[in-house]
Symmetry: C2
Subunit: 229 residues, 2 copies
């Protein structure tokens, strides 16, 4: 029954510690080199290269050559979505060290989910925007209200451009740490890009944790009422 063999083949690519590590490292949506990924996964570059070639072959990862570097990225958003949903299913990690505990906390506070914000920050901002009447939650996506249209325009996010992109506009993305939905799609991405532009957040170099700047703290409070306790 080789119907199953196909599933096994695809899935077995995910079911190995080193490859899973590489893939979750790639979940920040940015490009990474083989050596970087090797370091993050705690393996030698040859080993990473071996795994990466398998992942490229299996269409989970795509590569782009530039000079003597090869930059790797998740093949598409479906892969990222699959990974996030698997993280949601998987049991929470056991904490073994202080460093690990701190890293986990950073990720829970604010991180990128492929190309938009997740963690407490991502979920919190989304909820604030719903409370303020800018967004309305539908079954699997968020709808931007008239009020929200105005707000986003004022904030410097061009909805017309975002809507033209050939991808979902505002899908509700499941969050593995908060067990809530947050704003994904091109709108989620557009907002994050704007936050980066404004210098409200900065991306950590090796991890997909996100750092909130002092300007950001004021801005999030003023414009989004976050945090709102």
């Amino acid at each position: 029954m080789s119907i199953n063999a196909n599933v096994a083949q695809v899935v077995s690519l995910l079911g190995e510690a080193s490859r899973a590590s590489i893939l979750t490292s790639l979940m920040d949506g940015r490009f990474h080199t083989a050596t970087e990924l090797a370091y993050m996964a705690g393996i030698k570059p040859q080993t990473a290269s071996f795994h990466l070639s398998k992942l490229v072959e299996g269409n989970l990862v795509k590569a782009e050559k530039q000079g003597r570097h090869r930059y790797f990225q998740l093949a598409n958003m479906e892969v990222a979505a699959l990974l996030e949903s698997l993280l949601a299913i998987s049991p929470p990690p056991e904490i073994r060290s202080l460093k690990q505990s701190n890293q986990l906390k950073l990720l829970q506070d604010a991180r990128t989910c492929y190309d938009h914000l997740a963690g407490k920050l991502g979920v919190g901002l989304t909820e604030s925007m719903v409370s303020a009447g800018y967004l309305e939650k539908e079954e699997k996506e968020f709808r931007v209200t008239l009020l929200g249209n105005q707000f986003l325009a004022d904030f410097g996010v061009d909805l017309d451009v975002l809507k033209k992109k050939r991808r979902s506009f505002s899908h509700a993305c499941i969050d593995w740490s908060e067990r809530h939905h947050h704003l994904g799609g091109s709108l989620g991405n557009g907002l994050m890009v704007r936050f980066l532009e404004l210098g409200w957040i900065t991306q950590a170099p090796a991890i997909r944790a996100v750092n909130i700047t002092e300007t950001g703290k004021k801005g999030f409070k003023q414009f989004f009422d976050y945090p709102n306790e």
Copy 2:
């Protein structure tokens, strides 16, 4: 980075040919014994037993003891949904033998998807019901119209009972062979149960293919306008 280790652990259970075979065999939603599953996967009972204990440990499968038999079933509907979505992602199988080709055709024509109908039959019936105005497709589920309420009541499906069950009522389930949605949830299950009651369909013993009886052919044409070319 043991965040990844958890994912890898869960996923690696799926990424092995024998286990994938066992799991897809269990996708008919029925209970199966270890020996049955071993036969279907082409391995010895000891090996199946070994894998099954791992699957039970990993909460993908649950077991129930009855006399000298132990009956195995998928742990929950989430697991079934995960498997179907993986089948949808996986490339279509290569055909190697006539027998396999026939089996694949049977599965594509009409099969069970956990506990409701899929394949051409499942997709076709769903589309007919939408055309007839009994169902309306929403983002991720189907809504039963007033007309549909009446139709289903007449047909002998008790919606009140189904709605009380602690599970989704009518979610849209992705079909790996047809690449379309079909009707799942308790309503999808309720309909299939009714078809079995009426003797319109019978379940094949070893495969999750479904056989349409002569009565069924007439019934589906008369009540559901299927097939409708």
